[in-house]
């Protein structure tokens, strides 16, 4: 056992920090700090900048365009990116469909899609959930019926994040109505969002933002070569992704950055906004968050470096991380007092007469706190994760 960061790791951190200096355009950094949903333009530009350095998919194996870094180096890299106020790169290509493609995709599919994922020229979205299939993903009803060398897709998806940014969707469909999903009823299809018969409608969330969508498929014709792997493997693909997601969703680097900002914010609020803020109480809450985040970070490191692969551990990380993100933004909103009541309009942020005459850290906080209520719901709700732990770990 060696529980320390090696000098080489520290040197790596230093090197990355230097290389990142000045790389995040200042207005992008400001938007990231403000905490609204990242714009498509920012995601694209940042993806391209990363790719220019060979870092777009730092976490992938080298043979597929990754960095070949150790998991610890990847962690350090992501931490430094977050510290530089870079947006978290678009999730669906780099985190989800990319690994799916290099693990299950055909040679031709890999050649067709992976390069554009790395450059950020193609954005993807994840079409899993439906109105009546959320936690119970196996029950998806969207059908794909084989007709010669195409599939004809009909049905509806819901909550599709960034579908309005996306060029392509990877979509969980029912290819055999008679087989249960675990026995080969589901398949994964990939297709352009411009395919005739697809309608995308925005779903506005309680923060007033637009990040999720409702998608309708009406006789959407998809070439059979767009099937991932073989027909009937969709459930295995979905399980592979959901397991990946639980760990990436821990978002430790971003959480560390948020906590650092929280500390700065508390000090500034106390200094500039008068003595009413109980800094001792805020400090106690920050200390608790710091301790909980340290625990989460070490659990993530244990998992990505040690690799138990135990689904119960991954589910536990998802629970802790989601609750921590919620508590951090709750504290942030509490710190800013009555201004936490104001609904700042993202479109107005450049004005110099913002409501409540706020310090620059205020806009975005309240909306982000509201949106983060979703972290305990998406990527497998926390109730579902607890069920997985009880079952996988103890057979309950």
């Amino acid at each position: 056992m060696d529980l320390s960061f090696s000098p080489a790791d520290e040197a790596f951190r230093h090197e990355i920090r230097e290389a990142l200096r000045g790389l995040v355009p200042p207005d992008m950094a400001r938007r990231t700090r403000q905490g609204f949903h990242p714009t498509k333009a920012d995601l694209k530009l940042w993806n391209r900048i990363l790719n220019d350095h060979g870092w777009a998919a730092a976490h992938w194996p080298r043979e597929h365009g990754g960095s070949g870094w150790t998991p610890l180096q990847v962690h350090i890299f992501e931490e430094e990116c977050a510290a530089a106020d870079a947006p978290f790169p678009s999730y669906f290509g780099l985190r989800l469909v990319g690994p799916l493609l290099y693990t299950f995709g055909s040679e031709a599919q890999q050649c067709r899609y992976i390069p554009d994922i790395l450059t950020g020229d193609t954005f993807w979205c994840q079409g899993f959930s439906e109105p009546s299939s959320g936690s119970d993903l196996a029950s998806v009803r969207t059908t794909a019926v084989r007709d010669g060398d195409t599939y004809v897709v009909n049905g509806q998806k819901l909550w599709t994040t960034e579908a309005h940014y996306a060029d392509r969707m990877f979509c969980l469909v029912r290819t055999d109505p008679d087989l249960p999903p675990q026995k080969g009823g589901l398949s994964m299809l990939m297709f352009p969002m411009t395919t005739p018969g697809i309608t995308v409608r925005p779903v506005i969330t309680i923060d007033g933002g637009h990040s999720v969508n409702e998608i309708f498929f009406e006789n959407v014709r998809v070439p059979a070569e767009e099937l991932l792997g073989a027909e009937g493997q969709g459930w295995d693909h979905a399980k592979f992704l959901l397991a990946n997601e639980r760990i990436t969703n821990a978002h430790v680097p971003r959480a560390k950055r948020d906590l650092a900002l929280l500390k700065e914010m508390a000090a500034r609020e106390a200094a500039e906004q008068g003595g009413g803020l109980d800094l001792d109480e805020v400090d106690r809450r920050i200390a608790q968050l710091q301790i909980d985040l340290d625990g989460l970070e070490w659990s993530v490191l244990r998992e990505v470096i040690g690799g138990s692969g135990n689904p119960a551990i991954a589910s536990g990380l998802k629970i802790i991380a989601s609750e921590l993100q919620q508590r951090m933004t709750e504290l942030a909103v509490d710190i800013v007092g009555v201004r936490g009541r104001i609904a700042y309009d993202e479109a107005d942020l450049d004005r110099n007469d913002l409501p409540g005459n706020p310090p620059d850290y205020v806009p975005g906080l309240a909306a982000r706190q509201l949106f983060l209520r979703a972290t305990t719901i998406y990527a497998g709700s926390n109730e579902i994760q607890r069920g997985i732990i009880a079952k996988q770990q103890f057979g309950l």
């Binding site: 819901l158 309680i206 007092g337 998406y378 709700s381």
Partner: protein, 370 residues
């Protein structure tokens, strides 16, 4: 002690429940939230017809002379229906202050008739809910007074046509009245997270009428009463959120059965109910303390009520979203709106930390001074 409603109160409750049930569903609330004022002027006119706007005006000044408990009954109904009308601010707080100040019978009559909306502006950029932290200043000019300074996030401020403003007058805190179109007054109107409208006020020697000098205790009482009304609204909102959630669990199916078959979810609803009922008790306790006793006892009790309400609201409405799953996050679903209203209430006249500190100060005192 008697916890039952009087005949008049039962009628009041019945009529507000009927109003909310028949005329004010969630669709209406959403539509009002997108309208310019953030609430319905038609509803306001109806409130006048029903006599609700004169409920809290003393009989001597042409009103009904109701008690805070009566207004709380209405507020609970408004909370249930997500009614955004400025009832607490105009018909209770402003009407109460104007009645106490005297000499404003015409304005009180306008309030009763639904023709005047009056908002109380106390919060400042650096005051953090402390009513005694007032940087806005009043001084004598041309035989009257002018104000200089600024107020922020005035509850229901965007639609108000008059403001009651706290300002420093020599060494004391005084209350002033001025119209929204007063010279030297600049108003910045905007939305709050609960879809309502607030505003910032900037005074550059704006002429204002002195309502009351040495008003610190009167103001403190008025704001405590306002807090209790928001607490009543919160109770109504929590109750509605719990009912919606229980209904949803009975109908939503996953894994081939209704969600109500998952005990972790039904127990959560049970916990929500337990917190709500505790909050309701604390609302009544607060109302009792507002009815008599010392100013300190009242303030401590109101803070205890608000601590309980704020904690219950976060849990009850947060879990209402959680148990709805994704649909709870959608703007088109009601539960998120209850959550946002509860969070807005939790930072209007004081937040959790403010009320805990105030309670501590009033009940334990300052140990370092002993």
């Amino acid at each position: 002690m008697d916890f039952s409603l009087s005949d008049e109160q039962a009628m009041l409750k019945d009529s507000v429940m009927r109003f909310v049930g028949d005329r004010h569903g969630f669709d209406k609330a959403r539509a009002h939230a997108t309208a310019a004022d953030g609430f319905s002027r038609d509803d306001w006119a109806r409130f006048a017809e029903l006599g609700w706007l004169m409920l809290m005006i003393p009989e001597a000044q042409g009103g009904i002379g109701g008690r805070l408990e009566d207004a709380a009954i209405l507020m609970e109904g408004f909370g249930r229906g997500l009614v955004a009308a400025p009832y607490a601010s105009t018909a209770v707080v402003a009407a109460g202050l104007l009645a106490r100040a005297g000499g404003a019978d015409d304005l009180l009559a306008d309030i009763a008739g639904g023709e005047a909306l009056v908002a109380l502006a106390t919060e400042e950029a650096r005051s953090r809910y402390d009513l005694l932290h007032v940087e806005t200043e009043a001084r004598v000019a041309d035989g009257g007074f002018v104000l200089r300074g600024a107020k922020i996030v005035v509850p229901d401020g965007a639609s108000a046509d008059r403001f009651i403003v706290s300002a420093r007058l020599s060494k004391t805190i005084a209350l002033f009245l001025l119209a929204a179109d007063a010279p030297g007054l600049e108003i910045r109107r905007y939305r709050t997270i609960d879809g309502r409208r607030a505003c910032d006020l900037a005074f550059a020697d704006a002429p204002a009428r002195l309502l009351m000098h040495d008003a610190a205790e009167t103001l403190s009482r008025a704001v405590d009463e306002a807090s209790l009304l928001l607490a009543a609204e919160a109770v109504g909102g929590m109750q509605a959120a719990i009912e919606l959630t229980a209904d949803y669990l009975k109908t939503r199916q996953q894994f081939g059965r209704t969600l109500s078959k998952f005990q972790v979810l039904t127990h959560r609803v049970a916990d929500m109910f337990v917190k709500l009922e505790n909050a309701r008790s604390m609302l009544l306790r607060g109302l009792a303390a507002a009815g008599g006793g010392s100013a300190e006892a009242r303030a401590a009790a109101v803070s205890a009520t608000m601590v309980t309400i704020i904690q219950a609201g976060e849990f009850v409405c947060g879990q209402a979203i959680q148990l709805h799953g994704g649909i709870g996050m959608a703007d088109e679903n009601a539960v998120g709106h209850y959550y946002k209203r509860l969070r807005a209430i939790a930072r209007t006249y004081g937040d959790l930390d403010f009320h805990r500190q105030r309670h501590l100060r009033l009940t334990v005192g300052d140990r370092s001074a002993a």
